[in-house]
């Protein structure tokens, strides 16, 4: 069930294909790669920002160049090209298709998180066999599947799930920041990647939103039990949002598959509505309560903390916002990217310690 790349990713120079989308929310795969694999991010392709550096447009990523064509990108000797956008529905447009073919001709290995599998495209397959490049279709999942048992992680590891007020609020980022902080503290921890961006960092995982819907929970369960082996804690990257008209089914299936011992709520303070939908995000304490009510028939699941994306606020405002959220929810809160994951990891440790199995 686990999907792993046919080639090594870490330590190889990478071109991020993000044409027309950098550095918007749709380019989240590219942005996350730059954040957590900065050394490997050799060059970004985005015609609109060509000539600038990543730092100019994103505020991180030092002087990584942005170019307009694959031809120009080749000057930076990329070995891998990542389709660094996550379009709604996951389809491939003609511009990306052309760029991918050029990358293959130049001998690069390709990573794609699209719903459409590049390996199923005849022209792309022919180009691959000519150049010797390989493709990792991150979203490829087994057609086979199992129905969730409802037992969650049975390896002895406790599981912690990130859930959100919307998609694209930073559940993957938060999961990874929590993981790194937990590692720094010497905890025996792993994490389960459930979406394309996380899987590229983790170099394995299952794209839960691509699984046949009967098997969402079963696939999550299988993944958590793989990542939990020999660990005390497994952090599970959530997907979608329980209040999201398009993705809530994936979210709930994943919740019941993971059967977490505690959850962390992720929220972007700039967002008051679900993106692209006319759905207001309720107060965070209500969102927390909703998740607990939905889990309640199966398991009482406490929340360990709230992870905020405060990037739209100045530093003082951000700290005020965090205090306000702590007061409203009664939980430790923080902005992991900005101020570290310490408080929320404290919350997780407290949750898991308080409530023994």
């Amino acid at each position: 069930m686990l999907n792993t790349p046919p080639f090594r990713i870490k330590g190889r120079k990478t071109l991020l294909l993000a044409d027309g989308e950098f550095p918007t929310a749709k380019a989240k795969t590219a942005v996350c790669f730059i954040r957590y694999r900065e050394k490997d991010a050799a060059v970004v392709l985005d015609r609109g920002n060509a000539g600038k550096t990543v730092f100019d447009t994103l505020g991180i990523g030092r002087n990584i160049p942005i170019v307009a064509t694959v031809e120009e990108a080749k000057a930076f000797h990329p070995e891998i090209a990542i389709v660094g956008v996550a379009p709604r529905g996951g389809h491939l447009d003609d511009i990306f298709r052309e760029q991918i073919l050029e990358c293959i001709d130049a001998g690069m290995d390709i990573i794609s998180g699209l719903h459409v599998f590049l390996e199923d495209d005849k022209e792309i397959r022919e180009a691959l066999s000519k150049s010797g490049s390989q493709i990792w279709d991150v979203r490829r999942v087994s057609e086979e599947g199992t129905i969730a048992s409802g037992n969650g992680c049975t390896t002895g590891a406790r599981s912690v799930l990130t859930v959100g007020t919307d998609c694209g609020v930073g559940k993957m980022t938060v999961t990874y920041e929590l993981y790194m902080e937990a590692v720094r503290r010497g905890l025996n921890v792993s994490w389960a990647a459930t979406g394309q961006t996380g899987m590229i960092l983790r170099e394995r995982g299952i794209a839960i939103d691509r699984v046949i819907s009967d098997f969402i929970g079963g696939a999550t369960e299988a993944l958590v039990n793989l990542e939990g082996v020999g660990k005390d804690v497994v952090l599970v990257e959530g997907q979608g949002a329980l209040i999201h008209p398009g993705y809530a089914g994936v979210t709930l299936g994943l919740m019941f598959g993971a059967m977490p011992d505690c959850m962390v709520l992720v929220h972007d303070v700039e967002r008051d509505k679900v993106r692209e939908y006319n759905v207001e995000i309720p107060p965070l304490s209500e969102v927390i309560r909703l998740h607990q009510l939905v889990m309640a028939p199966l398991k009482d699941v406490p929340f360990a903390g709230v992870a905020l994306n405060t990037s739209c606020l100045g530093e003082e405002e951000a700290r005020d916002m965090i205090r306000t959220v702590e007061k409203e929810t009664g939980l430790p809160a923080g902005d992991m990217v900005r101020f570290g994951a310490g408080e929320v990891v404290d919350g997780i440790v407290e949750c898991l310690t308080k409530k023994g199995r």
Copy 2:
């Protein structure tokens, strides 16, 4: 997106393959076919009950014979064979495979609701091309899909969704009974089949549990908008249960795709736990409240009634139970199969009339 059979079903003599499972809950496809297409149900294959009639084992279905082999079934001249079992996970075992091959050799068309597609089986394909038979893989869905818009049915039809306390409690049966009662009253109504059994009766639909999980809501939305054309009301067959560890993702995706104007709760009074899981079914009023809380961020959705399966009770007990549930929930209740769908259709009409668009 809509899946339709390559041959006519209604009016043709049908063999129901239900070996080892008749008339258990796993043979629900066969049982429902007998209930609603009694004239077409020519013969049942189930070795354990061979020699009896369907009436002997099920209490309905008159003297439809039960036989032990396809060879014996041929005496009743079936033109279609239906894989009449719905095993957990939807896989095909060797016994059924052998029987299906025999049916094909005998010239029967085949209907299968399994997750495994018969048409993808080389030996079965070869047998088909030899005999000229055709196969309808009911669960086959398009790989393509769309993300739900959150707008539900936009044809002008109001939508009514059945939801359950578990899977296999009778959501399909209730949807179909409500449909027939609504037709009897002259309402301009259609229904949307979302699972294999319903699709066989409807001769079209989408097997929602087979759709890629990102597209559950989008597929439901597409289906409801097809069935809603030119209608005042579209009844939507629900799937799974919001409290089901294995299937809740499908259930919620379907709820958000259908965006119902009202819901009907379906419950089997014999069941106090989710079948095969250690999850207690909460009091019905709590189950109702849970569905409403989950829908609330998107839409306030009233319940129109409660449909009970009281088959484990005597008639007087059943009527008492219905009154008790009416008192507990404040909603009209009934057992559609036993006492008719009148009360709940009244409830639906009241719901849809009270709350104009």
